[in-house]
Subunit: 267 residues, 2 copies
C-alpha cells in the first residue's frame, strides 16, 4: 500500500493534475471518481489507484475486476492529497488521451454508429472556462454531434475541471485541437459543410436556418466573442434572440441551444 | 482614503462577501466590477467604493456622477483584499436586495413591460452550483421569463459567484425564495399555470408541448434531480432527448433549452 506523498507514482499524479505540459508530454490524463473511472475504455486505462476505504465496499473487488486492470491501494489521506477535488471518491485512474484526425470528425461515422449521418460540428475559439468546455462536450454528446474542433488557446481539454464536467463524454466525443483553426474551418467548408457563426451581428435567428445537411457552429471566447478573422469564414452569421438587457449568453448555453436546434430539425 | 483592513466598512464588506447570514440580516449584498455596478438601479445603491487606480481613468468621475451616489476611495491593495475575485476591477458597491411577492412573478407584468403576457416561470429545487444559478438567471432574462422561484436549500442567490454569473440579470429578473416550495407550486397551479417537470421518466419530448399559455418548469438538484414530492405536483413530465451515454444534462443547460423552447413557440 502506498502511504507516502514521496512515492514516485503519487508525485507523477500531482504533476499530471497540475501541469498541462506533463499531460501533453506523456499523452495521459487523470480521471477521478467511480462514475467516470468505470466509463474509461479498457484500452485507454494505464493505471488505477484505489483508497483503503473504497476497498471496504463489498462490491469493490467485483467492480475492479470488470475493469480488467490491476490496481494499487493507497491510504485515504494520500489519495486525498493527490486528488483535485475536496471530497475525493476513493478511485483514480491514469488514462491515455484519445486521438482523432480532423477527418474522423466529419468523415465516416461508423465509429459512432452514425455512418452516413450529416456531420454536426462545433468549433470553439479560445474558450477559457473549464466548466464551459466540459459542459459543451457533455451537451454535445447528448445532442449527437459528430465532433468538436478547438484552437490551442482554448483551455486544456484534459484539465481536471474540464474532465470532471464532461461527466464521461470525454471518452466518446471526437475532438480535434487545431494548430491553425482557420485552416481547419476552410477544410470543413471544402468538404461541403455549412459554417455558421454565433454572432451578435447575426441577422438570421438561429432557428430559421436549415441544419439537416452538414453544419458547423463557430463559438467564440467568453469575453470577446469570435475574432473577425475566424468569423469571416462563416457562410452565415446567426443570432440567438435575447430579451431584457442581456448582451450575450454564456458560451455553453449558446452552444447548447444551437446543437439542440440541429437535433430538433433532424428528428 | 481607506487604507486599512481594520476600517469598519471594509470589515463589513468582508462579512457580506463571506456570510449569507450577514447578507440576510442587513438585506444587502456586494456587487463588483464596473459592468455590473453601473447596472445597479439607483434606488438600490447603498454605498460605493472605488480604488485609486479606478479614479485615474479620465472617464471615471463622469461615470460615477451618473450613479448619483457619493463614493469612498480605497487603496488598491485594500480593495483587492475585500474583493471576491482574483483580479478586482476597482469598483465595488453595497446594494439593497430587491424583493418580490409570489404574485409579482406571475401576476401583472407591467414592471417588465410585458403586461398581459402569459407567465413563464422556472422553479428551482435545491440547485447547488453558484455558476448554474447565476447562468439560469442570465439565460432566463434573455428568454424573457417572468420570474424564478426557488427553495431555501438552493444556493444563496446573493453569493458573490452567483451575482457575478448573473451578469446583471439579478437586478431585472423577479425571484421568490419560498419557505414551502410545494405550497408555492400549488398556488401557481391554482392560478391556471401548467406545471412541467424536467424528468428522466418523462415520456413527452420537451418540444412537443404547447407553452403559449402560462407555464412553469420544475428543475431539480444537480446530483439527485427533483424530489418525488415536488415532481408529483407536475401536470406533465417532459424529457430532453439525449444520445450517447449521457445520463442527464447540466441543470443550467436543461433550463436554457426549456426556456428557449417557450420563447420559440411564443414568437
Amino acid at each position: 500500500m502506498i502511504t507516502s506523498t514521496g512515492n514516485q507514482q503519487m508525485k507523477e499524479i500531482v504533476q499530471l493534475q497540475k501541469k498541462s505540459k506533463a499531460r501533453c508530454k506523456q499523452r495521459v490524463f487523470v480521471v477521478e471518481g467511480p462514475k467516470m473511472v468505470f466509463e474509461v475504455p479498457k484500452e485507454q486505462l494505464v493505471s488505477l489507484y484505489v483508497s483503503e476505504s473504497f476497498l471496504q465496499d463489498p462490491d469493490a473487488e467485483h467492480k475492479l475486476k470488470m475493469l480488467g486492470c490491476s490496481y494499487e491501494t493507497v491510504s485515504d489521506s494520500i489519495l486525498k492529497s493527490v486528488s483535485d477535488t475536496k471530497t475525493p471518491q476513493g478511485i483514480l485512474a491514469i488514462v491515455k488521451m484519445p486521438s482523432y484526425t480532423l477527418g474522423d470528425l466529419y468523415g465516416a461515422f461508423s465509429q459512432t454508429g452514425k455512418e452516413g449521418a450529416a456531420p454536426h460540428l462545433l468549433v470553439l475559439e479560445s474558450i477559457q472556462d473549464p466548466g464551459n468546455l466540459g459542459t459543451i462536450l457533455r451537451t454535445g454528446e447528448g445532442a449527437g454531434i459528430s465532433g468538436i474542433l478547438m484552437n490551442r488557446t482554448t483551455v486544456d481539454l484534459f484539465h481536471p475541471k474540464v474532465i470532471r464536467s464532461t461527466m464521461g463524454s470525454i471518452f466518446r466525443v471526437p475532438f480535434y485541437i487545431a494548430d491553425d483553426l482557420q485552416a481547419a474551418v476552410r477544410q470543413l467548408k471544402e468538404s461541403g459543410i455549412q459554417v455558421y457563426a454565433a454572432h451578435l451581428d447575426g441577422r438570421a435567428c438561429y432557428d430559421q436556418m436549415d441544419y439537416r445537411l452538414g453544419c458547423a457552429f463557430l463559438i467564440g471566447n467568453e469575453g470577446n466573442g469570435l475574432t473577425p478573422e475566424l468569423a469571416s469564414l462563416a457562410d452565415a452569421y446567426i443570432r440567438i434572440p435575447m430579451e431584457g438587457n442581456v448582451e450575450s449568453l454564456n458560451a455553453a448555453i449558446a452552444a447548447a441551444l444551437l446543437m439542440y436546434e440541429v437535433k430538433r430539425q433532424r428528428r
